[in-house]
Structure formats: structure tokens, C-alpha cells
């Protein structure tokens, strides 16, 4: 495609020829002809974007706030030079360039490569994709320009930050309820032998007891004892109301950090952790332990976005049957805009669950972005205190989590772990 400069040169050339012919001025005609000859000669050779692009990331998964090192290798596949090639690596707008630059102006020789290295700061959790790579090539004199892109993407997951909460549990005044991994006499994933049972389709072959098969002629399966203390259920409120505050500081962001930190702490203790996220729909991750479960939980938390208005009661009603009896339940919610929270908490406590409500103070988050009159703030704060007190009255443990409060500090408010 012609650039503005080329269009002006061509038009100017034609105009000069015509005017020169009109007034019989040879200088003008020759000047015009030279301009057009310049365009013609330059049209013979143009730049190209026949390059191979390969992107390497320092990690596929990162925690929020970490730096991502990116290297983009651009290789000229053609047998001629690229001329003036501008390479621009598209990065998500949520990421910030920390050092280097995600673009370069190149003139690659045949087969030559160039590396673009830059560092991105990832201040927001989420699932991101770096790419495509935009190319813009022009000839040396900027007479022709063309744009294209190489559809090369690199996916990356930014997990929520993990806070160290161990101190909070160690410093709590009462003895811990769960003292570490013990063998439960129930079948499940573990290491110790529990019993033999008949094979059912879907069982992994590695669990087949071949000696028993030789002895009985039937396929028998080794069942293991479940290695866990208990199942821990984390329920995260991801409704639209959880977006109150700034992009970096809002109930949902704090909630994801809390959920990730708690999951990390309990999985390290070999407990089984389940994650429930409710927004416009319900997503339930069954309790499990180990690195795989940890990764699943972090991936789920990375993709959480505020939307929907599902009530907590609907969540607890639909999941009540799946919750193990007596297991602790963490509800991370601002408890705003949902009248069913007290009844849901009451039901859970009634079923024998140890319920802890970790409630980011949405009023204080709102104060970060808009000015609330002091009187209104006091009234709203009082209403919130009443709501939390009523939840505590049902037998749950309630934590009022202020925006400037660290998670371990907030957890110290609750006793009993």
C-alpha cells in the first residue's frame, strides 16, 4: 500500500508535468518525471514480513505481582532482506512493561535472527495470552507500507498472590483443631492399603492386584486409605457486587488472595480442599489434595471475574449433600446485597459445620474510590456490624476484613484453629 508520502510524490509529479506542459516549462516537467521515476523504481523492491516468530516466556504460570521475562526470536525466512520491518509484540493491557520494549525496528538479512527481550510486570491475576505479533514493513524511503500479523500466542496464567497464613494459625490462642495428616479409615486416594474389591470399569490398571487375580480368576483392585485430615470447603463470593473498589483492591481480589492462601496452607498440611465459586453460576471443585488440586484451585481463582447475583442460600442448598459432615467451611464474602447469608450460615452451622465467614469490608473499599459522607459511612458501617453480629450469633466465626489489613492479621481475629 502506498504511503501518504508516495501519494503526494506521485500526485505532485503528475501535477508538475501537467503544469509544465501548460506553461511549456521543462524544469517542471522533468521534476515531475523524476518524481514518478522515483516511485516506479522504488516499486520494484518492497519490504516483506516473511519471518518466523518464536516466543519464549520465563514461566507459564506466575503469581500476581511477579515479573515475566519474554524473549521474541524473529528470523528472516526469506532469501532477501526485510527492509524496514517493525515488529510489535501485543501484550495484554493489564500487564506493564518493566524493562525493555516489546517492539523493534529491524532490517534482517536473509536467515538472520534478532531477539526482542522485555520484562512484564503482572499486577492482575487472570488468564492471559501474549500475541499476536504485529508486523509493519515499509521500504527504505517510506513509500510503501504493509501490515500483517503472525498468529503466535503464548498463554499464561497469573495466580493470585499467596500470603503466609501459618503464623496466624500458630499464634492463635486455642489448640489447633486439625493437627496434621492422619490416616482416615475410609477409602480414597492415599498410600496405605485399605481393602480389596472387585474391579469395575474405569479403575486404573496399576491398582489391579495381580496375585489376587491369579488366585481367584477375577480382577481385584487394591483400595487405599484416604490420607487426609479432613475436607475443607472454601466458598468464594464472586458476584458483581464484589467488584466495589479499585482494580487492585476490591473484595474479590482480596477474596481470591485469601482463598489461595488458605488452600495453600491446608494442602501443604495434606488436607483435602474444595473450592466453590458462585457468581451467575456455581462452580464446584470437589475436595482433593496434592499439587494437582492446588494447581486446579489457583487456575480457577485466576479466572474469577465479578458477575451475577446468585444468593448464598442457593449455593449451600445445592452443595449441602456434597459437604462432608462436620468439615470446616470458609465463606469469603462481603455479605452485601444478599439477604440469604444469615439463613445459609445458620443451615451450615446446623448441619455441624465449623463455619468461618471472612468478610472484606465493602464499605471501606467503596471509600477508596468515592467520597462517602461521614454520617452515611457511620450508618452503613453500623448496619454491616449488625449483619456480622447476627452471623456470629448463629454460631459462625466472623472476621471483618479491612482493606489495609493483612490476611494473617485478619485471621488472628478468629479463634479456634
Amino acid at each position: 500500500m502506498w504511503t501518504r508520502k508516495a501519494a503526494f510524490t506521485f500526485t505532485g509529479g503528475i501535477a508538475l508535468i501537467l503544469i509544465g506542459m501548460m506553461i511549456s516549462n521543462h524544469q517542471m516537467m522533468i521534476l515531475g518525471l523524476a518524481f514518478i521515476a522515483f516511485i516506479v523504481v522504488n516499486s520494484w523492491v518492497s519490504g516483506h514480513g516473511d519471518v518466523e516468530v518464536q516466543r519464549t516466556l520465563s514461566a507459564d504460570n506466575l503469581y500476581k505481582g511477579d515479573d515475566l521475562y519474554v524473549e521474541l526470536l524473529v528470523t528472516n525466512r526469506s532469501r532477501r532482506k526485510t527492509q524496514q520491518l517493525e515488529v510489535y509484540d501485543n501484550v495484554p493491557h493489564e500487564m506493564k512493561l518493566r524493562s525493555g520494549l516489546n517492539q523493534m525496528r529491524l532490517n534482517l538479512k536473509p536467515g538472520e535472527s534478532a531477539r526482542i527481550r522485555y520484562v512484564l510486570r503482572c499486577p492482575l491475576r487472570g488468564h492471559y495470552s501474549i500475541g499476536p505479533v504485529s508486523l509493519r514493513y515499509r521500504n527504505t524511503f517510506n513509500l510503501s507500507i504493509d501490515e500483517m500479523y503472525v498468529d503466535h500466542h503464548s498463554d499464561i496464567i497469573i495466580f493470585p498472590q499467596i500470603r503466609d497464613v501459618e503464623e496466624a494459625f500458630i499464634r492463635s490462642r486455642t489448640a489447633k483443631m486439625y493437627t496434621g495428616a492422619t490416616t482416615l479409615r475410609t477409602p480414597g486416594p492415599g498410600t496405605e492399603f485399605y481393602s480389596l474389591r472387585e474391579y469395575v470399569p474405569g479403575d486404573p490398571f496399576k491398582n489391579i492386584n495381580w496375585k489376587a487375580f491369579a488366585r481367584t480368576g477375577d480382577l481385584m483392585i487394591n483400595e487405599k486409605c484416604r490420607d487426609a485430615v479432613t475436607d475443607l470447603y472454601i466458598i468464594l463470593d464472586s458476584r458483581d457486587i464484589a467488584r466495589i473498589g479499585t482494580v487492585l483492591k476490591n473484595p474479590l481480589e482480596m477474596g481470591t488472595v485469601a482463598a489461595a492462601s488458605l488452600a495453600s496452607f491446608f494442602i501443604k498440611r495434606r488436607d483435602s480442599v474444595s473450592l466453590t465459586i458462585y457468581d451467575e453460576k456455581l462452580s464446584f471443585l470437589p475436595p482433593d489434595t496434592g499439587d494437582k488440586q492446588y494447581f486446579k484451585i489457583l487456575s480457577s481463582l485466576a479466572g474469577v471475574a465479578p458477575r451475577g447475583t446468585m444468593p448464598l442460600q442457593a449455593v449451600t442448598n445445592s452443595l449441602a449433600a456434597r459437604f462432608s459432615r462436620g468439615s470446616p467451611v470458609f465463606i469469603i464474602s462481603s455479605c452485601e446485597g444478599d439477604g440469604t447469608v444469615p439463613s445459609a450460615v445458620r443451615d451450615l452451622v446446623g448441619r455441624g459445620h465449623e463455619v468461618t465467614v471472612l468478610s472484606p469490608s465493602s464499605i471501606d473499599f467503596e471509600r477508596l474510590v468515592s467520597r462517602i459522607p461521614r454520617m452515611s459511612y457511620e450508618v452503613l458501617k453500623l448496619e454491616r456490624q449488625n449483619r456480622l453480629t447476627s452471623l456470629a450469633g448463629f454460631g459462625s466465626q466472623v472476621i471483618d476484613w479491612m482493606p489495609d489489613m493483612d490476611l494473617s492479621q485478619a485471621l488472628l481475629q478468629v479463634r479456634g484453629y
Partner: protein, 382 residues
């Protein structure tokens, strides 16, 4: 894909302007642009100005009219010299002035302000100082009175000096602004320089238009015009010496423009890079590639432009030779002497025909592949 990513490296060279401005490719491009500017100016001056409307003639007329010598010395204005020699010293002054302005542009604002202030004060003192002091002395000695003739006469020299400087500057404007543009990295300077040349050519073209020229009387007769373009071609049998001069003006203008703008474009890009990239050897290597490419293309493509324009202008004679060679008739000779060809319609049409064919050849001849073969063979050698 996750893997080992090394951080940006640091080399001995960097793309900081201080280093980049003395890099040989940049300096070569700037020198090339300056040479093109000087050559173009000399071509324009020798074709249209010298002996016709040059500054020395104007100075002579002024001196004759005023009955006094102008304050600027003849060695400086070029009066008394012949031909292009009249322009050598003024052009040197213009280059020095443009260079000084470019140099000043890179100084701190404080220094710039001081220099400007000094020049203004110097000019005021030089132009009005003697008059002011003499008049003040007259007022002190004689009391309140209008300036006497001897005092007023003191203004004559400054005014004539000012007039001479204005005239000289007017003639040297393309050189001054062009030099400032090239070395002071000013797009505006380059654009003004080209603009002045085009403006001059345009005004000259209008004034030499026969209808207007006849109205100008004896003044019009002084203007140089290239009347006969279709004479016997002496340069490669394609164009006349006058035509080559005009082609040179056009092509040198493009050399000047592309070299000067190329330098500014690349330096602007380098300036905008973050510090870590300026030190990164990858960016340094690619900047070398870009500048080498620019130099190569300026040399090759602008030479090809001169060749293409020359062939285009002589294409009508090539066509007529073919026709006469093929048919053996008198028709070609008759057309060659026809009024249409002399009046340039035929010439322009045949030139555009040639350029059109060359443009269409792009779709027939694989220039890109051809060019690639040359480039890859050079790269292998490297």
C-alpha cells in the same frame, strides 16, 4: 512456552544520541545530504540565476542607483567574479551560518538565550550605536534639536549593511535552512529548504511563461529560459546537457531530502528507545542494518532514478529509431521534427509510456527475487 530467558545484554556500543551522531553511517548520510544540497543549489544557480538575476547584479544596480559602495566587501559578495565563482564565498557563509544555527540548537536553553541576546545587542550597537551616541552628543551640546545631516548620515551605513545582508540571506535561504535541517536534525529546516527551491522554480516558471515574459519587457529578457529541449542529445544519445542539468536538480533534491529525513527518522527512533534497549546489542546491530540499508538504497535507487528519468526523456528518440529501423520510412524523421514533439507533448507522453512499462514490468520480471539473489549472495560473503 516456558524456557530459559536471558535478560537484555549490554554491549560496548549504544544507541545514545551522543554516540549515534558520530557513527559513520549517520555522518555519511549527513555529508551526502549536504553535498546534494550544495550541488543542487549550484545547479539551480548556474542554470537560472548566474548572469541573469544573481545577487551581484542586484548589488551593482543598488550601488549604481545610490551612488555609493555597499558596505559588504566584494570578496564577500562575489562581485567582480565570473560565473559560479560569485556564489562560492556567500555559499560558504551560508553553510557556516546554517551549521552554527544547528550547533546552537544542541546547546542548553540558557546558552541559546545568551547567544541570541548577544547577537541582538551586537546588531543594535552596530546598526544604531553610532547614530544614538552622535545624536545624544548633539543634544547635550546644542540642546533639544532634530538630528543634523551629519548625524543622520550615520544611519546610511547601517541601513545599507542591513539591506545587503537581507539580500544575501534571501539568496542563501535554501542553503542556510537546509544545513540547519541536516545537522540540526530539523525536519522543518529540510522542508523549508526544498520549499524555497520549488518556490523559486515555480516563480521562475511563471515569469518565463511567454505571455508574462513579454509583459516584463527588458526585465523579462534577462530571465534565463530553456527554450529548445529537443535538440541533439549528447548524453548517451538520450538527453541534452541542459536536460541532464534539470534531471540532476530533481534527483539531487531527492537525495538531499531522503538522506536528511532518513537520518532524522532513525535518530528519532533511537531517541525514543528506553535506556535498556539503547544498550542492547540486538538493537544496536539492527540499527546498523537499517542505516547500511538506507545508505545502499540511497546510492542504488536514486542512481536508478536518474537513469530511468534519462531514458524516459530520451525514449521518444529510441522509439523513433526503432520505427525508422523497422519500417525504413520517412515517417519517423517527420515525427521527430514535428511541432508536437518540440512542444513536449510527445516527449512527455513517450516518457510516461516508458515509466508505465517499467512499472508494469514489476508484474513480469521478478525484481524481488532478483534483488534477493543479490542480497543473499552478499550476505553469504559477509
Amino acid at each position: 512456552m516456558a524456557g530459559e530467558v536471558t535478560p537484555q545484554g549490554e554491549g560496548a556500543r549504544s544507541l545514545h544520541l551522543r554516540q549515534l551522531r558520530v557513527q559513520w553511517q549517520i555522518v555519511t548520510l549527513q555529508v551526502l545530504a549536504t553535498l546534494a544540497l550544495v550541488w543542487m543549489y549550484l545547479e539551480v544557480v548556474s542554470t537560472y540565476v548566474v548572469g541573469s538575476i544573481d545577487h551581484t547584479l542586484l548589488f551593482d544596480k543598488l550601488e549604481e542607483g545610490l551612488g555609493t559602495d555597499l558596505p559588504l566587501g566584494d570578496w564577500l559578495t562575489g562581485e567582480g567574479s565570473d560565473g559560479l565563482a560569485r556564489f562560492y564565498v556567500p555559499m560558504g557563509i551560508g553553510l557556516a551560518l546554517g551549521g552554527s544555527m544547528a550547533f546552537l540548537a544542541f546547546q542548553t536553553p540558557k546558552v541559546q538565550q545568551r547567544v541570541r541576546l548577544s547577537i541582538i545587542v551586537l546588531l543594535i550597537v552596530m546598526l544604531a550605536g553610532r547614530f544614538v551616541f552622535s545624536y545624544a552628543w548633539q543634544l547635550i551640546s546644542e540642546g533639544w534639536s532634530i538630528p543634523g545631516n551629519d548625524v543622520v548620515r550615520l544611519l546610511e551605513w547601517p541601513l545599507l549593511m542591513l539591506l545587503s545582508l537581507v539580500i544575501l540571506t534571501f539568496y542563501l535561504l535554501p542553503i542556510i535552512t537546509g544545513t540547519k535541517g541536516i545537522w540540526g536534525l530539523s525536519r522543518r529546516g529540510v522542508a523549508w529548504s526544498i520549499g524555497f527551491i520549488l518556490l523559486f522554480l515555480g516563480i521562475h516558471a511563471i515569469l518565463t511563461f511567454p505571455l508574462i515574459r513579454s509583459q516584463l519587457g527588458s526585465y523579462g529578457e534577462q530571465l534565463t529560459s530553456l527554450e529548445i529541449i529537443v535538440s541533439d542529445p549528447t548524453i548517451f544519445g538520450l538527453v541534452t546537457a541542459e536536460q541532464l542539468s534539470l534531471i540532476l536538480i530533481a534527483c539531487l533534491m531527492m537525495v538531499f531530502q531522503e538522506s536528511a529525513f532518513g537520518v532524522i527518522r532513525q535518530l528519532e527512533y533511537a531517541y525514543r528507545l528506553p535506556d535498556s534497549c539503547k544498550r542492547d546489542p540486538e538493537y544496536v546491530a539492527q540499527m546498523d542494518n537499517l542505516l547500511n540499508g538506507h545508505l545502499r538504497h540511497t546510492a542504488i535507487f536514486l542512481s536508478l532514478t536518474i537513469v530511468a528519468t534519462t531514458i524516459a526523456l530520451g525514449f521518444h528518440s529510441v522509439l523513433l529509431n526503432w520505427v525508422s529501423g523497422i519500417t525504413g520510412s520517412q515517417w519517423a524523421a517527420q515525427v521527430g521534427e514535428s511541432i508536437e514533439l518540440t512542444l513536449t507533448y510527445g516527449l512527455v507522453i513517450s516518457a510516461l509510456l516508458f515509466l508505465g512499462i517499467m512499472a508494469l514490468l514489476r508484474f513480469v520480471i521478478p525484481w524481488q527475487r532478483f534483488w534477493g539473489l543479490i542480497e543473499s549472495s552478499f550476505s553469504t560473503r559477509e
